[in-house]
Amino acid sequence: MGVAPSETHPVSLGRLCARGWSAHEAALWGNRLTQPLVNRNGKLESVSWVEALDLVAGRFKELIDAGKSVGVLGSARATNEENYLAGKLARAGFQTNNLDFSYRALCGPLMAGLEEVCGECTPSVSLNDIESSQTILLIEGDLAETHPRAASAVMAAVEKGAHLVTIIHTATQMSRLASLLLPAIRGNEGEVIDGLLAAVLRLGLEDQASVKVRCEGYHALLRDLETVKITAEMRQAAEWIARATRATFLIPPVSGEGPPSGREAAALATLAALTGHLGRPGSGLLPLLARNNVRGACEMGIVPDRLPGYQRLDDEPSRQRLQDLWGKKLPLASGMDAESLLQSASGVIVLADDPPAVLPGGQRAMAALGRVEFLVVLDAFLTATAQIAHVVLPMASFAETEGTITSMEGRVQRLHVATDPPGEARPGWQVLAELCARSDLGATYRSVSDVLSEVGQATPTYARVGQSENKWVGMRSAKDANGGKFRLFAAEAARVTPAEGSHVLVRDGDFDWGRDPLVAFSPTLSRDYQSERKLFPKGYIEMCKLDADGVGVHPGRPVKLTSVHGEAVVPTRVRTDLKPGVLLVPYAFRDHLANVLGKHSVTAVKVEQA
């Protein structure tokens, strides 16, 4: 078994990243679930499918009848069809909008910010478009590591002479290829974006036609940015952005604490709109999401206040359409998000998600999961969540099932079956269809195409997906939610500024690849992550040499960090490329600093010798 890239695939074009080249390994080496399991006296014992499904349906009915709250977690690594059925089960079957997926806790603010400006949060450029950009603005985490395919497109553009402008907090591979660096403290990227907005306005670089016809809030924006300081670099970057025929804006889910959340994203979208790059073919914004189907999960409505199609809960036509389609009245009240759901629901079905590995509060999620009265997990792998579930239903992995996923760039891609699922594992859509049937939702699906057809009825943008002749991608029609109008916003926020002589602790990154099953179970891909966890069982923070010397700590030795939230003692790693005053904790080690960070991603800390 192995992987061979396809030159006819419109995204890969015969090129894969390391994760792609080892994608088959998790399916082979993963701790695969092969039989339905039920927890009896603390041990998972195998049972028949019928027994397991009846038990799940029966217990959920009991919980709902007893007036207890239940919910469903969908997944950024499940197919659209699986997510759609999970949503249907929650809304129509369990009559609740308690429906979410873990990674949304991180990407939610980004999507909200874009929606605020554009009226929708779909990307406006494709990965292939990036290659012909003249200017690329990147809020850099470590694109080469997190999104190698996007980094590849950026490299191709730079090779052709494009200006790459990076907003950075440490030196990275992409920053070394950049024409211009705009340093920012992590979490305060908004300051730089506001600087760019102010530079555009003061230099008169805005796209007049776009501002007049399509933008609202121009004068308020002028006012908001009156006092913003701009640097020579910001001026240069603003000129490159405004003068480019094609420009790309790449934005990762930068820390989204509020309120209001997603300000950086809104300001970046504003910059794109103001310079005429929104709505211009080949130009625009691309949110950088981790995992393969974040967008699909959102568009299937795995969001507590949205319906399929990412429509608002109170959008009457969408609601009516779903009620007619599913033959049930749907609940109106917003549901709980993933974190609250785990804290307070009595019955939870988790579809291919592992909240402790993904949520910012990993340990908190693990503790909450342990208190759930009835926990059901559908997954291909024995994750931490599956290990403590009351019922485990084994699913086919991505290599063993059919279905579609909607990529970061909004392309609906097809999965084909490469091999059979192990043991009694079944395709996820079949398991969810069985649960739907047991919840009195009459539809029968003969194949995954039947589910996709129903998705098309539920959300019209997917109506023609199945009709595509291309074996790799489906056709998805775009929508123009806001009539092409943009509302302009500044970020207006410097969240945390280190006071003289003190430090800020920043949670670095928004995803822990080392705990994604596809990486963790791949012998090739997991090596670095495992090694790091072995070497640093207590985690670490990164600090610059100057700070380490100031505190008087040797590399590898622990420091004591104290914030308003609490304290922790943690080993240090010294870097030469960090700004003084900034300490980073890798996302993978966030739980070791949970006391210090509280529920935040950036916080002021006092650093002392431990």
């Binding site: 061979a4 030159e7 006819t8 015969g14 894969l16 190698p148 090596r527 090694s531 070497l535």
Partner: protein, 346 residues
């Protein structure tokens, strides 16, 4: 000896070859790619095609290659080697890939010989199809591995229009012809002349990729590539490992145990010398922690005089696959040019 076979005779010949075992040939895959795959019928074979991105090395050195089975028997463990003895024919492979398999076989024959690899290789008959038109990214003329071969194949076919010229390179090749002896006749002198003309013409049709290994070899073997150059180039590599995986001559591997039906199967799996963890030691120490060190190592192995002396070849067959699959821009021709010129992207 040189023979010909009429075009329409190839169907019959392939039917005979299929009776004797698996025949791997370039076919059109379900999504439109050209791939090497086991034939179901002779009509699937492609005769006019661009070389598949994925090389046929997977049929001698699979991406996941089971080597031994380990079973518990009471208090003892039983170890049983797994051999793949199935007779196979590689049909219509290109010259560069034949050279690649020759390179791999030479490597695996060196002591200690690799029995698992060699069983597969010895049961493999290689029938190549010479290239009258080089691939767009190929540069096999720089590595003496195409577009036509003078050895390494069991049979080499050349398309002469209505018929194919068949050059015999080994007894295995003769045996493959003997499956359908009536289809072959001795080649006429003008047919051999025609083949020579095709080869000469092919050599004039190469694309823009070239690789001046000679001068790069001098520099890299004598430590005259500045560290700063490796550092600069390393920023243009995205560490995907694709260059290793599609390379017909790369054979680096890891060993991993796979649990199957109550036993353990020890597998050799493709690995990439460009991955940081490839040389990671149990202590956490990594002798090649930085990417520039890994790149330097890769190209030293591929291009240096030290290895050339051992292998009698550079570790490249000029197929140009790395040019296509590189996620960054540090493929063989680009790096060899940078080593030769002492500069990158300037």
């Amino acid at each position: 000896m040189v023979f010909t076979i009429p075009r329409e005779g190839t169907t019959k010949w392939l039917e005979k070859l299929l009776e004797a075992g698996e025949v791997i040939a370039p076919v059109r895959g379900p999504c439109g790619d050209v791939i090497f795959s086991a034939l179901r019928s002779p009509s699937q074979v492609l005769w006019d095609f661009e070389n598949p991105l994925h090389p046929p090395k997977q049929f001698v050195l699979p991406q996941t290659d089971p080597l031994i089975k380990i079973k518990r028997n009471g208090a003892r463990h039983e170890v049983e080697p797994i051999y793949d003895d199935a007779p196979r024919t590689l049909f219509n492979v290109r010259s560069c890939d034949v050279a690649g398999i020759s390179f791999l076989t030479q490597m695996h024959e060196a002591e200690p010989a690799d029995a698992s690899y060699l069983r597969r290789a010895h049961n493999l008959t290689i029938i190549s199809l010479a290239c009258p038109t080089p691939c767009p990214t190929g540069f096999c003329v720089c590595t003496d591995s195409g577009p036509f071969l003078s050895g390494g194949y069991d049979l080499q076919l050349t398309d002469l229009g209505g018929r194919f010229l068949v050059e015999v390179g080994s007894a295995k090749g003769e045996a493959a012809m003997a499956k359908a002896p009536d289809l072959f006749r001795k080649a006429a002198e003008d047919e051999v002349t025609q083949r020579k003309a095709l080869e000469a013409a092919a050599k004039t049709r190469f694309g823009p990729e070239t690789c001046h290994f000679g001068s790069a070899m001098r520099r890299i073997s004598t430590g005259r590539v500045p560290d700063a150059l490796w550092e600069k180039m390393a920023d243009w590599c995205l560490e995907c490992g694709g260059c290793n995986f599609v390379c017909p001559t790369c054979y680096c591997f890891s060993v991993k145990d796979l649990r199957r039906n109550g036993a353990w199967v020890r597998c050799r799996t493709w690995d990439s010398c460009q991955y940081a963890a490839f040389t990671l030691e149990a202590s956490g120490h990594n002798p090649r922690a930085q990417r520039k060190e890994r790149m330097k190592r890769r190209f030293f192995h591929k291009v240096s005089a030290q290895y050339y002396a051992r292998d009698s070849a550079v570790g490249c067959v000029g197929c140009g696959r790395c040019v296509k699959t590189c996620l960054g821009s540090t493929h063989m021709p680009a790096v060899v040019a940078a080593i030769r010129k002492g500069k990158w992207h300037e």
